[in-house]
């Protein structure tokens, strides 16, 4: 979800409308909001996020660390998950400083009660060092590239009916 979506659409209406129409429980839908969007209008963002969380959606702060970050935003936005951007990882193996910063961010997020997802995992060593820092959920080309719905269903959904049968 981008900055303009937060302001131009009644995001709450749209999302609740969708889950009602398809009968999906809210907690099955995670809403990602970019850090940039939050920085533009923290007060309004926070209001939207609170409503979405009350309704049961999971809210994620996307692209954290990609551009500018603000400590006060982090303090004031109550999200469920902090998605740390892959570009911070790029130098993680070579630079102790990057590692330190990343570890602190992960710790800070956990202390603030947020889950941490690192996106953009490309190598096994990245996965290992991040796991060592306490990160549990990952996303990236190391596991899979973005795939089509059919492919996704084939790969992740088919085995279940097979078990049942």
């Amino acid at each position: 979800m981008f900055a303009k979506d937060l302001y131009t659409l009644d995001v709450y209406q749209v999302l609740t409308g969708l889950i009602a129409r398809y009968g999906v429980p809210a907690e099955r839908l995670r809403v990602e909001i970019t850090e940039t969007a939050l920085l533009e209008d923290p007060a309004n963002s926070n209001a939207v996020i609170s409503r979405l969380r009350q309704r049961g959606f999971l809210v994620e702060i996307d692209d954290f660390g990609k551009g500018f970050s603000s400590l006060s935003t982090l303090k004031d936005i109550h999200a469920d998950v902090l998605k740390i951007d892959m570009s911070l990882l790029n130098e993680i193996e070579t630079r102790q400083r990057s590692r330190t910063i990343l570890a602190s961010i992960i710790n800070m997020a956990r202390s603030l009660g947020m889950g941490v997802v690192t996106e953009g995992i490309e190598t096994k060593s990245q996965l290992q060092s991040l796991a060592a820092m306490g990160c549990e959920i990952f996303q990236g080309y190391y596991f899979s590239r973005p795939i089509t719905v059919e492919e996704f269903e084939l790969r992740y959904l088919r085995p279940e009916p097979q078990k049942e049968s």
Partner: protein, 769 residues
Amino acid sequence: MNCGICARSRRRKAEKPKRWFPNIRVTLKEKVLLVKKTNVKNLLLAVLACILLASLCAVPGLAAAEETLIVGVPVDRCPVFYTDADTKEVVGIGADLMRAAAENAGFTVSFRATEETTLKEALDNPAYDLVMPFGSAVSSDAGQASIVSDNLMQTPFTIVTEGNRVLPELNHLRVGMLSSLGGGAETVRQLYPGIEISMYATMDECVKALRSDKVDALLHNSYVWSYVLQKPAYSDLTVQPSAMFSMDFRVGTLDTAGGSAVIERLNEGIAGVSDARRQAIILDYTSRQLYRYDFADFLRTYGLFLLMAVLLVAAIIVIVVQKYRAMRRRQEETLRRVLDQDELTGALSMNGFRKRVEALLRAHPDLPYLISYNNIRNLKFINESLGWAAGDELLRFWANTAGKTLTDEEAMCRVSGDRMAFLRVIADEEKIKRDEAEVYEPLRNYFVDRGYETRVQISAGVYILTPEDYQNINVDRILDHARMTEKRVRETHKEGYEIYNPDQWERGKRVADVVGHLPLALRGGELQVWYQPQVDYETGEIIGAEALCRWNHAKLGWLRPSEFIATLEEAGLIYDLDAYVWEQVCRDLQRWNRQGKRLTVSVNMSRCDLWDGRNIPGQFLDLIQRYGLSTDQLRIEITESAYVEDPELLIRATSKLREFGFQVEMDDFGSGYSSLHMLKEVPVDRIKLDLHFLSSTGDPERGRIIVSHVIQMVRALGINLIAEGVENAAQASFLRSRGCTEMQGFFLYEPLSVKEFEATANISEKQGS
């Protein structure tokens, strides 16, 4: 008939003269033809005799037979023989003399220019009956003997040489002569056997030989010299009067019977030419200016004059062209003025104003401007009661009076009729009062001062330009704001003015107050350096201080940095302030050092300080050396936002400063946008964590969590940490509990004046002594 014979005879070449009738020369080349001819001749003879008789009876003067003699002469020797430029006939002294002699002898002569190189060759050419001139009889080129007539005249020969060259005796002289003077040369050899003669085809070659010293002198007929030496190029040649001799001037032909007869008869004619006649002919030719300048002569004589004339003409052309261009420019300028200027008042037209305002805003993006739109509310009444001329006079007075108060950065325009617009730099209240007194009061009272009762009513709308107006210049939009405001004033039946955007007005005035007063403030001590102590909370000890500045503004009172730093940065003046503070701090540090208290002070550096190629690290080093400080006594604070906005420039400066031994601090960390990328790149010694974000709304617990992790992170990165903005005991003890003991803030100390700071930090004269 007679002429017909002559014509034929002339056509027929190489005919032997007939002994039996020597008066008639019939030329015939082939013997065969001669036989045929004899019959014809007999016939002709008879006819001729008849005519002769008849003519003797009719015209006694023509009694003698009129045969025409073809005379070959060289024409390269004006004035003796030359071809007349107009008639193309051969003329000259020799020709006239010969004609006179021939006439006496009953001949007609026709001269032909010889084409042979020498006269000796010409003798062999049967086309000529006679050849001249000869000094004496010479054998022809083919070796045949010739005979010559009596002397026609005594020709003086003169030696000509270069300048004042000293010549050897005539008998040992090397002499140059024209090839055509071959006969003459032979005569000379006979007269002076020792003389060495070189022949040249032209006079030019002769002169060249003389100049290159191949010959000592040139020899020629004096009459010819009188002509040749008129040539400007030969002006350096001089006649040697001492070495003069004369030669005969005779007519020659091959020594044949016919030739002898002609010469004999001719001699009678020569005898008949009187000396007086001879002298007259010579004088006639020598007294005339016969030499004609060729182009080279002309250049030689008039070259300089010509060059000057050419230069003069060129100069005139250049001047004319320049004048023409200047005139064109003036015309264009006049045209532009007509378009850009109002005819009545001399103020700019709307067109000109638009252009001028655009140019000014572009050139001065840092000047605070306002635009005002003014209207004489009662001009209609003035025009009706006092006349149109009065209205025009009033407008002219307005433009004139207001024009005097404008600076070069301002502009004035007559929008239309009674509406005037002004672009003015916003200054202090003084300027407004001055305008009121110098322009608007006299304008309002224009007619009152002149004895009428009418007061001029003016309504005005003012628009203060915003930063956006400078970026996106649109003069019409700017003016529309002022126009709308003016309309509002006019419609409420009010005089005076209103401001479209008063907030902007206050800001603009403030900018003017701050920017305009800075130089004076720096000189007059309005700006003071204050120190806020930095404390080790663990020990309570003062470990340093941050230098801040306080501005005791003459008009605005005490100003805090936040009230003027940004303005000065925008105006490009922050360096002046920073450099002033650095200098003051170093002076204080030096004094404290002398008093035995070595302190470390943090000073602020704006990223703008690094612009314009200023070598700030070098300046700090210079300061330290000048005041005898050590580099660890200065900490350079650079805000986190500066690093974010211009990382490359700032990181370069930071590295340089640290290289010199200064400590560099990242100021205001956490107060704005951070870049996690940058944090790992920037090589700072200390981070100043700004706690202000803690005090804002929100969950204080989450703030504390963030602060603890930041403290941890900074320590893990091996960077020192100081917390600033510590406002209460709870914050201080929390920070201490998380391992951050270096603090600065109101809770500990407020910024202190130098005196207070010295007292607080226990710096006193006593300690120093």
